[in-house]
Symmetry: C2
């Protein structure tokens, strides 16, 4: 196996491109793929201020590295989800990367900001952890970007992530989600005239041309010390099953994932762009985040985040005020 560029010994092969690369040319291939994606989807310019959400995993750290190498003005944002020692180790990976690269990292924690961790939220709401986690990340990423004055929020979603999401949306024909699945989600403005303000910052995914396996190889070759273990709460996650099913097909026919995702963007996505439904974008009465109002009473609307938080905190108060029945031998672990 020889490098496509220099014919030296290759260290990474990419079957769907029918190509292999040596270390040096694989790294420049990755830079090119990301640069091409940024240009193709007009994601941002050299003078935009970028905030990248980093988890400490391979994708977000690899992307942060690529963007730094491409000389973008990019700051990291780490949100501590409070998932036991896993969060501790992933935070260390993010901090250590930032120090090595002399890059700025903003760190916030769900527990400090809102008084709960992801596992606690899951218990209080009785929902799967991934649901509350996703909601809180989307909310906090956007809030941090707005509060800290960034133009663009960057995430490390790779081709495999996007295909798994697409596959799930197609299995259930979630037509609203299909209408919103894109490498760029435009910013949303609330209010008019002098009241107008950015309510949702522009979101972009520069890794959509890059497979999971390639970000792992990039991180390895660049000496990025990322957290290898998967989130311990993710077990049985349907997204994982979708990845497995599609990987079966990718192995038999390299390029299947890329074809599915980019074919969707080109030929199908426009058919799902949300029709102007009955819901209008209004301001949450508590936190001012944008949310959808379905009836006339705009000033009374709470966003999903605030509703979920209220629900969780109410449940906690209820539990605290009702002494739980004790059996002999029980040990207090609270």
């Amino acid at each position: 196996m020889k490098c496509k560029v220099c014919r030296q010994h290759a260290v990474v092969d990419i079957r769907r491109h029918n190509a292999a690369f040596c270390q040096e040319h694989f790294i420049s291939h990755m830079h090119n793929q990301v640069a091409r994606t940024i240009k193709e989807f007009k994601m941002f310019d050299a003078d935009d201020r970028l905030l990248i959400a980093v988890s400490g995993g391979k994708d977000s750290l690899a992307l942060w590295d690529v963007l730094l190498e491409l000389d973008y003005d990019v700051v990291g944002f780490y949100l501590d989800l409070g998932i036991g020692s896993y969060s501790g180790r992933s935070k260390e990976a993010a901090i250590s990367f930032a120090e090595t690269r002399n890059a700025k990292l903003i760190v916030r924690s769900l527990a400090e900001e809102h008084g709960y961790t992801v596992p606690e939220l899951a218990k209080l709401t009785g929902r799967v952890p991934c649901s509350g986690c996703g909601l809180n990340k989307r909310y906090e990423f956007n809030r941090a970007a707005l509060e800290e004055g960034f133009d663009i929020l960057v995430t490390g979603h790779n081709l495999d992530d996007e295909v798994a999401t697409l596959f799930g949306n197609v299995l259930h024909w979630n037509v609203d989600m299909l209408g919103r699945q894109a490498p760029v989600l435009e910013e949303r403005i609330l209010g008019e005239g002098t009241d107008a303000r950015v309510a949702l910052v522009r979101k972009v995914k520069p890794l959509v041309r890059v497979a999971e396996r390639e970000t792992a190889a990039y991180a390895l070759l660049r000496g990025i010390d990322y957290i290898v273990e998967e989130c311990p709460m993710v077990e049985g996650n349907t997204q994982h099953r979708y990845k497995e099913a599609i990987t079966l097909l990718e192995e038999a026919s390299p390029g299947t994932k890329q074809q599915m995702y980019f074919g969707f963007l080109k030929r199908a996505a426009p058919r799902f762009i949300a029709e102007s439904g009955e819901g209008r974008l209004v301001t949450c009465k508590r936190c001012s985040a944008p949310t959808v109002a379905w009836d006339g009473n705009d000033s009374e609307v709470l966003c999903t985040f605030c509703r979920t938080k209220d629900h969780a905190l109410r449940r906690r108060t209820d539990r605290a005020s009702i002494p739980s029945p004790r059996r002999e031998g029980d040990v207090d672990t609270a």
Copy 2:
């Protein structure tokens, strides 16, 4: 495991319906599922003349049996594809079923009608066998239905078949195919006024609510002697891989296939209904079948079937007229 209806010992369970049935009630469940589908999609009435395409396999024979039990006026059509002894055994299964049920079966053969078998066609055109096979079956089923005066062409496509096709169409975002994937394809009329004639007979798939495993169980319980082996040409067929991938998901979450298919019909299919493109339906100058013309010269158009046949027969003539270079020891097998 007890029968949902009579609480006796069940012989078949259907996880996606969270139900199990004894022999008697499974058979009536199948009749109900087919009757419900015929009604739901307004497939046909009691006085329509139905032609069912039978392959000798479980699906088409099971469906023929159900339609006879439901007292429909239904005749079988078997097309001999000339796939060695496999075709011989599948024809026997079809003939034997018809005799046992005292039902009428029309038998035709590709070799007699057009001078080639499916394996020969594949060799002559250099295409995978499934491609020529599908084209010839669609063409011959429609021709037989029209020539023999039937109103409706019935096929035994089950839920697994439809989901695998849908999955393939979604992987490649074949938007034209997505626009035509439905349990009913309406008849197409060519010509106007007194020249008007049915060119494509109405096609229906009454098994779309029934999984492969259920038609197999039905055939077994009804003592239908079907051909169990798969077509020997189908190996490596992508449709099979799609079935495997989705079966992974169905096992983890029963109902996935049904949800994907019926969700598509309800929420997505209307978005793919073919826009009136540049192509118009015209008559093939050779065989009068309907075909699409892309330029102005309507009277010169050949349909895909006639073009493929021409191509194959021309290749055969070329081969016969050019003596192939012989090496010593070669044996004449032509």
